[in-house]
Symmetry: C2
Subunit: 327 residues, 2 copies
């Protein structure tokens, strides 16, 4: 099943069910007016949403209309918890080698970063940047949206609570990353709003691409229409279930919690490329002594997309432009 | 005006207006069913809520009933962003001196910590603790709840967007604080759920107690019925407006965002005491070479309350027990 949220002037938008081929949609208000409302009572809302999805795919759903990703907000335009991981250690290792850093990480403890969830950006919306001197970077990631998870749940229990999967561009302002990390309290100015794909899908939509609590598919990035990388999600050093279990050690996670994978990064980086500029520039430092790829600047476009074995887009594309903030 | 949220089995509870003396309440559903709904359109909801408040205080409001803080959830049982500051540098200075730590803080940059906001705890609810060996601590803080704040807003603009003020017990598991801070990515297991006072109030309710973007009132803490401290909020090294402006540098803050002050701490700590055990124990280390006050354990009760010049409770009391988590 594929779900999206369309702009209607409200903070939470309106929930629609989207056809598997992303061509059509139907309003889901009869089941739940918003995705948050659906997540708040998933066991009650899921059957109705699935019925709409089946009829939509069969071409028999009354009221179906053309799905326009330009009209999409983030699937959850706001939610109550967003945590980002840095679960591809290959990424951290490259950064540490290039810049002589050491993250003091206790054995077995994953990197998780509490983040804001009040103001997500839609897949095709212009992204306002306060200052180009803040070194604007993209970060391609997979993300899951979970149901209620009770304190102390196991990794398997957490994985079973994953309801939806999507992709994000977790934009960074690199000028602030190191100073804020050195303070020890996580990211503030380093991490403005996060951009979401138009569609979130149930895990079954990924078929073999969802295995071991990881999205085993390539994330394709392009910059201004030029392909830059296509790393695969299978190399996550912790599964989403394991990451969620660490988070839920001493607290409940409530429905609608979003967990990001961190920048997707593969050992075969020289073949598949990097999902963020910081990693690409770190590799340039290691190879040539200095970075050469520039940070993003005004008017640049980034596109993120995942395709199935038949080349069909799963989540639709994040395809957006970076612009100077008007204020 | 004073607002509270009562338990009704839903995730967001039901909004009530509470009388100034905290004795009576009236359902606010005719204006807004939940505090989030009221915050989502404050300019529209405020006049109706104020009308209820005036009639309630005058004793003329139909449908008024006795206000029972035991039935209160957090004013916002969940919201879309919670950020905690550490805005009393006196606290950090004591911690750094006692344990030979240095926070690498760029000049002028406040400590802000992105936190979870999906599962707040009500003022009188039992607080479940996973393990007493995690060194359970309380932290008494002031907090503000803000309206929409546009990216790039000034401190004055941010201060003008503060709609409500309350107090919190921002519980810490001290065993994880240093290792997680050393990783650089902020707190995960160190910071389980936060506890809120039964009532949030508009700034005018504080009279002279709200000045320069700070709550200039004493926060009274007691442990198992014994007073332990009463530090004043006036010594914040940044105002709430300044902290919000730092947060809003390159992002919008959306209605319902909560900002905590960090542990209230005064230079006259030997007279007024500490608002958390970690600080009290650090002072014992500095004075006697070792801590002597124990961390919290099962069955202990903590109470937090602020009174006006006439000795009347402003926010009601956080008064809750720590218990072993059932799972």
């Amino acid at each position: 099943m594929k779900l999206a949220t369309l702009k209607n002037g409200s903070r939470d938008g309106r929930l629609v069910v989207v056809s598997r081929d992303l061509k059509h949609a139907v309003d889901a208000a009869a089941v739940a007016p918003t995705l948050q409302a659906a997540m708040d009572n998933w066991s009650r809302s899921e059957p109705g949403l699935q019925s709409l999805y089946q009829a939509l795919n069969a071409g028999t759903q009354a009221g179906a209309f053309a799905f326009d990703p330009e009209q999409a907000m983030a699937p959850l335009p706001r939610t109550h918890q967003f945590v980002d991981a840095s679960a591809f250690l290959n990424h951290g290792n490259i950064m540490e080698r290039a810049f002589n850093l050491t993250v003091k990480r206790p054995e077995g403890v994953p990197i998780l970063i509490q983040r804001q969830s009040d103001d997500f950006v839609g897949p095709c919306d212009d992204y306002p940047v306060r200052s180009w001197e803040d070194n604007c970077d993209y970060e391609g990631e997979f993300a899951v949206i979970v149901d209620d998870v009770a304190m102390g749940s196991s990794a398997a229990e957490c994985e079973a609570a994953i309801r939806l999967i999507t992709i994000i561009n977790d934009v960074s302002m690199r000028r602030f990353v190191l100073p804020e990390a050195q303070m020890g309290f996580g990211f503030i100015n380093a991490k403005p709003a996060t951009v979401f794909a138009p569609v979130a899908v149930t895990p079954d939509e990924l078929g073999d691409g969802w295995k071991d609590g990881r999205v085993q598919l390539d994330l394709h990035l392009s910059r201004n229409g030029e392909p830059v990388s296509h790393p695969n999600g299978r190399e996550m050093d912790w599964s989403f279930g394991q990451l969620l279990a660490h988070l839920a050690y001493n607290r409940n996670l409530r429905a609608g919690t979003i967990l990001g994978s961190g920048t997707v990064s593969n050992k075969a980086v020289s073949e598949v490329g990097s999902a963020c500029l910081a990693e690409q520039r770190a590799l340039e430092v290691l190879a040539q002594g200095a970075p050469k790829t520039p940070w993003l600047t005004g008017g640049e476009r980034m596109r993120f997309e995942v395709k199935d074995a038949q080349g069909r887009s799963i989540f639709g594309a994040i395809d957006h432009q970076f612009v100077a903030a008007s204020r």
